[in-house]
Symmetry: C2
Subunit: 201 residues, 2 copies
Amino acid sequence: MNNNVFDDPATTREEILAATYRSLRRHGYADLTIQKIGDELEQSPSLIYHHYEDKDALVLACLEYLLDHFEAELGRGPIEAPRERLEGLLGWGFGTEMSDEWQAFMQTVLELRVQAIHDPAYRDHFTRSDRVFTESIASIIRSGIESGEFRECEPAVVAETLQLLFFGRLLRLSSTADELEEWAVDIQSEAQQYLETRVYA
Amino acid sequence: MNNNVFDDPATTREEILAATYRSLRRHGYADLTIQKIGDELEQSPSLIYHHYEDKDALVLACLEYLLDHFEAELGRGPIEAPRERLEGLLGWGFGTEMSDEWQAFMQTVLELRVQAIHDPAYRDHFTRSDRVFTESIASIIRSGIESGEFRECEPAVVAETLQLLFFGRLLRLSSTADELEEWAVDIQSEAQQYLETRVYA
């Protein structure tokens, strides 16, 4: 999920989704209203209601759009340099330098995941999302095994483990006052060590 | 956090906290009201308001009470059989047999963690709670190192890693439709493998 997906909206629908994404980043989920998205869009809320039933339909469409975009990017061409790709992912997911804005958006995703406990539509989205993300990690690992760079291992299991560690880190980061430097640095090197043992060795 | 903590409330305050705990398990956080806790207690809500300002003060007092109890239990005597203790924890945290009621309570804890994003009082609680739980795991590992059963390792880092993996698993379990048997079994054996490599070897 990067910022550039919505840089050049081509249709009204894409403009609405882009405004939803910016509003989500700005206000979080709980404080988001169709009015605020309308303000972001410089349009009346009635335009939005013409396309989407309510706030949740809009947020879900936005998440699905981002995920579709991510999935399409994944499908492009073979995976070159799998080790660099994995290291890049590790830096992205476990590095301790994050912008406040990015951190706020990840907290919003966490709020939406908790919505999924009781809302089947969010639940379906995150089910697909988790499968897409683990598959994206697993495909990098498989490609490294095929090229002989990586050892034989279970790509899906390694991918799932990294994903859960990332979620746990996000939850701890979002719900406690402990500084990232006190514990997250250790987790980053532990994840690194995990790859050394399981994948690179 | 086990059920028995509140089995024998000795004061009105403990009775109220016990009723809060039962109500949280029954209704979750979002649907919890002082009225429902009063019903659980078979008392008027005014009795509760005499002791606690609002729902969040009550829920926090309940969480703190559980954590104090857990902490006091930990302090009792030396740690015998550290390997069995770790294996027990692994079964508790990563096993795939959970009662629906337990799962519902863990989802409530997740909802409360998301409250902590914006509420400093919950944030303080979970900061302390995470420290207590990692320390409880780390102290088992230290005891195994001292007795020569475990290899030299960094107990705090291993404890933090297991905790994050547990959180991630809980978040995935609560927010997706994928069956536990499809992925959580692999995570359990991966956590086991992690202990073999890092602690037992």
